[in-house]
Symmetry: C2
Subunit: 335 residues, 2 copies
Amino acid sequence: MDELIERARMGQTRAVARLITQVENSETAASHIVPQLYAATGKAHIIGVTGAPGSGKSTLVNELAKALRQQDRRVGIIAVDPSSPFTGGALLGDRVRMRDLAGDKGIFIRSLASRGSLGGLSQATAVVIKVLDAAGFDSILVETVGAGQAEVDIASTAHTTLVIEAPGMGDDVQSIKAGILEIANILVVNKADRPGASRTVRALKTMLQLGETTMVRHHGRFMQTTAVTENESPQNQWPVPVLETVATESTGIAELVDQVLAHKTYLRSTNGWLEQEKVRSRREVEQLLQARFMARFQTIVSQDDRNQLITAIANREIDPYTAVADIFAHINNTG
Amino acid sequence: MDELIERARMGQTRAVARLITQVENSETAASHIVPQLYAATGKAHIIGVTGAPGSGKSTLVNELAKALRQQDRRVGIIAVDPSSPFTGGALLGDRVRMRDLAGDKGIFIRSLASRGSLGGLSQATAVVIKVLDAAGFDSILVETVGAGQAEVDIASTAHTTLVIEAPGMGDDVQSIKAGILEIANILVVNKADRPGASRTVRALKTMLQLGETTMVRHHGRFMQTTAVTENESPQNQWPVPVLETVATESTGIAELVDQVLAHKTYLRSTNGWLEQEKVRSRREVEQLLQARFMARFQTIVSQDDRNQLITAIANREIDPYTAVADIFAHINNTG
């Protein structure tokens, strides 16, 4: 195992792949491997890419990867597949398309599927990012479908978050999905050769302007004004660009890459980079603590006892607050 | 306080309102109040309504509330407002519109805004539902915008989940949002007088048919086949209807109410009702346990210490796994 870690750190692709298989399937492996890798992490630029199905997100990720490769960067791609079996199929198709990238040793591609466990997928993603980071990958693209928790997770995982729209999917400000502003550092209208592209661009720009009036952008992400602490100057602002691309024809990719790298430079030249590391670290500590606690709960209270308790609550024989108070005391009194 | 609980249980609107104000603002109040109310809960039909901004969701909720009222049911409406300040504004507008319902003592309306705390909003929603349930409200409509975690939460909170679409928002199967199938018991195409409505209905029906081939519907929700345990017959199926409504003109509302009540009858006549209570109870126990544990963590490890630790992790001085192992041992060794 330790030899495997050493070879992965030297960037050997097969060692990286084998290590990832171990960490994504076992919490124990992760807790053994991460401490040995962690000091070598923190260099990679983590780029989140999210967007609705049909926005052409995967093709765009392929193009981004190729363009970053042409600048001699080593590129990791992690496709995070939330629980729906439908997108599962779609993503699988995308993976097949990605095989044309896989001949290049400077590109590493991995799909992660939902494991259904508490914080499972986002924890697995965090660990895989660490392995790739320690193995010397310069850019790590994390792709996920824009739905549910996955989207929220990606924004707190990535340094730079791209939200991909397609024409007609957000025709007016009212129908643009809530939450996009909070997570996007760069907005991309892909399939920009389709009718309605300019209208979608205008709608997004209007939305950004509306945002300015009620919120402070904080290193390129909107936050409610109260959430920005005093010593962090609101002048530190990244103006969120709205870019047009046609990924299938490589149109607009060069400018997109420029903006992605400009955002990295921006974060590096301000306290934004470290700040995002802190956000990520805080979240990871909380998730790991909770996972440990829940594991302890499941060790101390048997599955039969848990099921009986749940049934008693569902039948109104005991209320959840009293039940939880009892369990909590029991867990803390068990050595 | 105990008198307030008694009056709320008798269904006095002002007591209900005051009790809700207390439980939504204080975990301590909730842990005092819920045990006294809990035995009186479990009767209300909890109906989740979710959909993208612009789908006309709020108008539809108003119409549903009126129609249920006409059947002499007491109706609670909880509008769950996720973090975005934009939808915040929109929902606020909707609340103003809802005032025309508020003169009726058989209707109780409450908005819940994000408190940003861990599991905050979904926990607050769960407590408010309990208060209304114990106060004798027959139907509780929980409305939330279809985005992020809120949508996932609503499905595990409600007995019956309605997903609202508008024409043009889901024109082909590819662009229909992942995850809808898992949560919807009833699909509604609102604004059905607009062009493209029949195409949206067709797309949704196609999607449902695609779902049948790879998944088993389980009490009206899709689950991956493996998730259905053996003693639960897959014959227990609720065929998800796709309904058309024009909420602004009250068109299609009667049929929608019929289907909502038919789903309730269906759940009651199978083991679906109890099963959903168990899912909800399990989730609530886990959330309350985690909240207690995190509160304990924050009591034992001071904010300064936590910040120092996060900074050390961000600076790669210590890895998160080792840090969490240390903290966890410390928490468990502190009486």
